[in-house]
């Protein structure tokens, strides 16, 4: 392999290792980027909107599209029946009878699951028509929490599987049982890693055109790879690979793994186009994205270490449960296996026992998310290291140091199979401690504690894998199953370089960047090898599966760019240079080895320099003058797959990645004793990512990953109700860090080149997503001296950890202590009373009068008798910005005239479902009037719960209050007495207090 030898970079602007400014920026800053939604569409392009399930688990009884189809501008509706006819279920990574289709066929298994697609002239009309789609559901009991979902009694999502545990594997490396038996200490911990996602600012975009003449699906989408999923999509569409032409737009508004999850929509919109015979465009909105795009896998881990008295760990045991949501969407269960080879982290632990269980629950399917698998593993492992220090009364940093893999043993094979390529972990820790100013932080902690303030310091040592082995996922299978399926391994990168007839250089890579600056770095590499002007190089990163060189490993994930893609660009550039050197040698009359490329010229000692473009021109304009075996034209495509990425062996060892960087973080933080708010004092992050190709861009990656890790630690969580309804549907509910919260981390670097990549570079994009959440958690554990740390560490959660009792709610806002009568996403309870100037009998009778009922229910358009005391109503209810028209059932029951009754209602609308029940008690007042007491429970699900959570409590109070004040008006003909009485009381109070003053 040609391995690049670096030179000093100071006087080599825009070459490998320089802090070159990005070539991408000019267009983006001018607003001239071309993102998915900006790409030109063909005339007649239609627009789609996806109708989604409001329920987390339900059988679809009927789907009626008639009204929608009759609406203005509507061209068609793609239903489950079409999908069942035209496609096959998506291939799944484990052998289980589970079916996942791009649109639900007979059952929905998570809130937000697509049930049909409406296609219309524009998005506004499509959404109008979506409201007219009628779906009848039979709701089913849900499994939401992974630990209860694994139990035998839990509601099962996929009946044919018979259990929610769809994959279980046990692994054993070394002699772990013996090590645990002999260990003087055992330290264990149970942790839960929540659901969150890196939520790019641009959502999914798909523009699909089914070409009926050739049976080809031509799709443009901001898909990010891995392109192994191209095969999954083609199989689902039941076409050969060359009949799914997949293209990406020039720019992408971020992804962080998440845009892997667009692939079912690529299939869906391909079908939508086929259904209406026109190109179809779909742009996901933010609610859809938060609710149903993708998520990091939430995990429950029990971890245990066998420990020597000095803190040295001799063996580790992991018992992990991954909650992959409602479907095992490819490449899951990869969250486990991406990290499998390096489960022992940065430590020289030789004995390891692992149990991995994959469980399905009624939540959105999970997928790639920056750090993929890392945050989950290190949250357990590094929390455990901190616990070991606490339980053995040692310094946590000392525990880390004593366990680090020593210098000088690389490449080092970890017990589960990772071949750690290079590094000097103790030196990196040492340098970080000094340059990051740990001593000063320790002093600050002492000072703060002396003053009674809550200050903590946390550490995390992390191995950051990059360049995934495409075979690691097969570790989910037994060796026997793997033998049957055939070996999978490697990771092929591609790069194509063309030197044009005018000496211009064009490069293509299949790395589908989403803001990482690949074009800049590729140009740096090529400029260096060919010695041409940086600005003259054009790099194209659009991918067209029909015309470009690509592989199943193509795409932007597992931080594969710097090590693999840039390395392959280097190899392609060297190949072109070698050919050009041969041509030049002939023309200059020298040996090819003597030819050098620099400053846009070609040199050889003793010959006149020749301009690069002259030499390039010869290959195009005068091919007959070229040396033998030189075919003319100048284009090289390099393919490269590292030999170190072998398939998992029968011993289940897997080198899951090619490179392993090292990160050591520490931070100091202070916790406000009253508010529970966490203030980061300093965050230090030391990275060894091998050779840095552009340190400015690496720092940008570190800062971005740090901010996301910070968000995961303190703010972000996808919340679900007990009925599986999704509760984080807006960016006001799902909180992302903003500029005032995020601090600037102290970034430090060390460079230990990888021996396995052409340029010695490793990935660096995901490290802080792995290290930062646990580093902050460890600091909080240190500050508060507690061990059960759950993320995100929101102020209210931290107050709970400090042991602050929340102040009592004011009387009128008190919730009843009883468990809610109605389980639900957003469960609301409250009570109140009004006085009505009419007798209890009159009040009772009017409640039974449909005419009165129709008037007192706010927003009631129509009320029809259905049976005795039960009605069918058409009601519009508004919560904040949302207004929804409900088809509701209203019922009066438990009638005990004239003392009490129960008013209940339930309804469905395009915005979600709602149900409620109010117990009403009537008692006579001395003045002949009635006091009406009510107590209600209500629950809402679907979109309203997802986007309106913050407003529901208040809104429900207003709506229910309206019912009874209107009742009072109806019966007594006056405004409710409560108001009058209150005013009177206030007046009296005022009088009395005046009296006191005088």
């Amino acid at each position: 392999m040609t391995i690049y030898q670096s030179l000093a970079v100071e006087d080599r602007p825009n070459r490998i290792g320089a802090r070159t400014e990005r070539v991408e920026d000019e267009a983006l800053l001018r607003g001239l980027g071309r993102y998915g939604d900006d790409v030109a569409t063909a005339p007649g392009t239609l627009h789609a909107t996806v109708v989604r399930s409001p329920h987390a688990h339900a059988r679809i009884l009927s789907l009626n599209t008639e009204k929608a189809l009759a609406m203005q501008g509507v061209h068609g509706v793609l239903t489950g029946a079409d999908v069942a006819r035209w496609t096959a279920p998506f291939a799944v990574g484990v052998r289980q009878p589970m079916e996942h289709w791009c649109v639900a066929i007979d059952k929905v298994r998570y809130a937000g699951e697509p049930v049909c697609v409406v296609i219309a002239d524009n998005r506004y009309l499509a959404e109008d028509a979506a409201d007219a789609i009628e779906v009848e559901y039979e709701t089913l009991p849900v499994s939401v929490d992974p630990e209860t979902a694994i139990e035998d009694t839990a509601p099962v999502l996929h009946e044919a599987v018979g259990s929610n545990v769809v994959n279980e594997r046990h692994f054993r490396y070394g002699e772990p049982e013996q090590a645990f038996e002999q260990a003087p200490f055992r330290v264990s911990l149970k942790v839960k890693y929540p659901r969150s996602a890196c939520t790019p600012m641009e959502c999914y975009v798909v523009l699909a055109h089914y070409q009926s003449a050739s049976g080809t699906y031509d799709v443009l989408s901001n898909f990010q790879g891995p392109y192994a999923l191209h095969s999954v999509m083609a199989r689902a569409l039941k076409v050969s690979g060359n009949c799914l032409r997949l293209r990406t737009p020039p720019d992408s508004g971020g992804s962080f793994g998440i845009k892997q999850g667009v692939f079912p929509y690529i299939v869906m919109m391909g079908l939508a186009s086929r259904k209406v015979g026109a190109p179809v465009k779909w742009v996901e909105d933010r609610l859809e994205h938060l609710q149903a795009a993708s998520s990091a896998t939430n995990r429950v881990t029990e971890i245990e270490a066998a420990v020597e008295p000095d803190g040295r760990v001799t063996a580790l045991r992991y018992d992990q449960i991954d909650d992959c949501g409602a479907y095992l969407r490819a490449p899951e269960p990869a969250t486990f296996y991406r990290m499998h080879g390096n489960l022992t982290g940065a430590y020289g632990i030789r004995h390891l026992l692992v149990r991995n269980r994959v469980v399905l629950t009624n939540k959105t399917p999970t997928g790639l998310n920056r750090g993929f698998g890392g945050p989950q593993v290190y949250f357990a492992l590094e929390r455990l290291m901190q616990r070991i220090a606490v339980e053995l009364d040692l310094d946590p940093l000392e525990v880390i140091r004593r366990n680090l893999i020593p210098a000088g043993v690389f490449p080092y094979q970890a017990p589960a199979g990772a071949l750690l390529d290079s590094g000097d972990y103790p030196a990196a820790v040492g340098q970080a401690v000094v340059d990051g100013g740990l001593a000063e932080l320790l002093r600050r902690r002492d000072d703060a504690r002396a003053e009674g303030r809550l200050y903590g310091i946390g550490y995390a040592a992390v191995v950051e894998p990059s360049i995934s082995n495409m075979g690691y996922i097969t570790a989910a299978m037994t060796p026997e199953e793997r033998r049957k399926a055939g070996p999978k391994n490697g990771a092929v990168s591609t790069a194509t370089i063309t030197v044009g007839p005018l000496g211009d250089v064009s490069v293509h890579v299949s790395s589908t960047p989403q803001g990482q600056g690949h074009q800049t770095v590729v140009a740096q590499v090529v400029a260096e090898v060919l010695g041409v002007a940086f600005a003259s190089i054009r790099v194209n990163v659009e991918l067209d599966t029909q015309k470009d060189a690509w592989s199943i490993a193509s795409g932007n994930y597992s931080s594969r760019f710097a090590g693999a893609v840039a390395g392959t660009v280097y190899r392609a550039a060297v190949a072109i240079r070698d050919r050009m050197a041969l041509i030049a040698a002939g023309q200059l009359g020298v040996q090819a080895e003597a030819v050098r490329f620099a400053d846009g010229k070609v040199f050889a000692e003793g010959a006149n320099p020749m301009p690069f473009h002259r030499l390039a021109g010869a290959a195009h304009w005068a091919p007959a003058t070229l040396p033998e075996h030189e075919g003319g034209g100048l284009r090289e495509t390099a393919f490269w797959s590292p030999p170190e990425l072998t398939a998992p062996g029968d011993d289940d060892r897997i080198n899951s990645s090619l490179c392993y960087g090292f990160i050591f973080d520490f931070c100091g933080l202070e916790i406000d004793r009253v508010t529970g708010e966490i203030r980061l004092d300093r965050y230090v992050t030391m990275h060894d990512a091998g050779r840095l190709l552009n340190p400015a861009l690496v720092d940008g990656q570190v800062r971005g990953a740090f901010a996301q890790g910070f968000g995961a630690a303190l703010m972000e969580e996808f919340a679900y109700g007990s009925d599986g309804s999704f509760l984080s549907g807006t960016l006001a509910d799902y909180l992302i860090p903003t500029a005032p919260e995020v601090i600037e981390p102290v970034i430090l670097h060390m460079e230990t080149p990888s021996p396995f990549t052409p340029l010695g570079a490793k990935g660096a994009g995901e490290g802080n997503n792995m290290s930062t959440p646990v580093c902050i958690a460890n600091a909080v554990a240190d500050a508060l001296g507690c061990d059960d740390i759950r993320l995100p560490l929101t102020p209210s959660r931290v107050r709970g950890l400090i042991g602050i009792d929340e102040p009592e709610a004011p009387e009128h806002l008190k919730q009843s202590a009883e468990a809610p009568a109605i389980p639900g996403g957003s469960t609301l309870q409250a009570s109140g009373s009004v006085s009505i100037p009419a007798s209890p009998e009159q009040v009772f009778d009017s409640l039974l009068d449909p005419a009165v009922l129709a008037v007192i229910i706010p927003g009631c358009h129509q009320l029809e008798l259905e049976g005795e005391n039960s009605y069918c109503a058409d009601v519009t209810i508004g919560v904040g910005l949302i207004r929804a028209r409900f088809q509701a059932r209203v019922k009066l029951s438990d009638l005990e005239p004239p003392h009490s009754l129960c008013l209940s209602g339930s309804g469905n609308s395009p915005m979600g479902s709602a149900q409620g029940r109010a117990r009403i008690r009537l008692s006579s007042l001395e003045d002949g009037g009635t006091r009406l007491d009510y107590q209600y429970d209500a629950a809402v699900g679907g979109k309203i719960a997802a986007v309106g959570g913050r407003m529901l409590q208040g809104a429900s109070r207003v709506i229910i209050g309206q019912i009874f004040s209107r009742l009072s008006q109806q019966v007594g003909g006056v405004a409710p007495q409560a108001g009058l009485w209150l005013r009177l009381k206030a007046w009296l109070n005022a009088l009395i207090s005046k009296g006191d003053e005088s």
């Binding site: 800053l29 607003g31 001239l32 933010r286 971005g704 500029a739």
Partner: protein, 170 residues
Amino acid sequence: MEAVVKPRTVVQFELNGRARQGYAESRTQLCDFLRHETGATGVHVGCEHGVCGACTVLVDGKAVRSCLMLAVQVQGSRVETVESLADEDLMSDLQQAFRRHHALQCGFCTAGILMSCVDYLEREPEPTETQVRDMLSGHLCRCTGYTGIVRAVLDVAHERKTQQENNNNV
């Protein structure tokens, strides 16, 4: 069947210094109108509920979220989008500072942030870092961690001030 044809209005306004007009329903959001009707695709839509700030444009010189405005509301107004900031060969000092400080990665949030900064620096030419961070709290950027953006804004403010002082001294 609801075959109601939604009435469309002609919206006449000034976009980036030029008189423009386009059709909008009364419910058409300003961001959709600018993107689809006038081709100002530099306006980005990240949430459609007023939190992310990606859609920020200037209406009569003030930064507003174009997802929270209706197209018909800009009738007769002056609208500026990110496309207005640079001239053919030179980007504005703010845009250049963003490039220098690596203040963008995917660039999806950038247009909105630039527009807010233009408005803000006009009103507050010498902000502190805390003030800049506060102003940016109305914008979400998922890529950069904000450092580069904060530095770029402070740098431009400083540059402008120095330049002004030099001008005054001449």
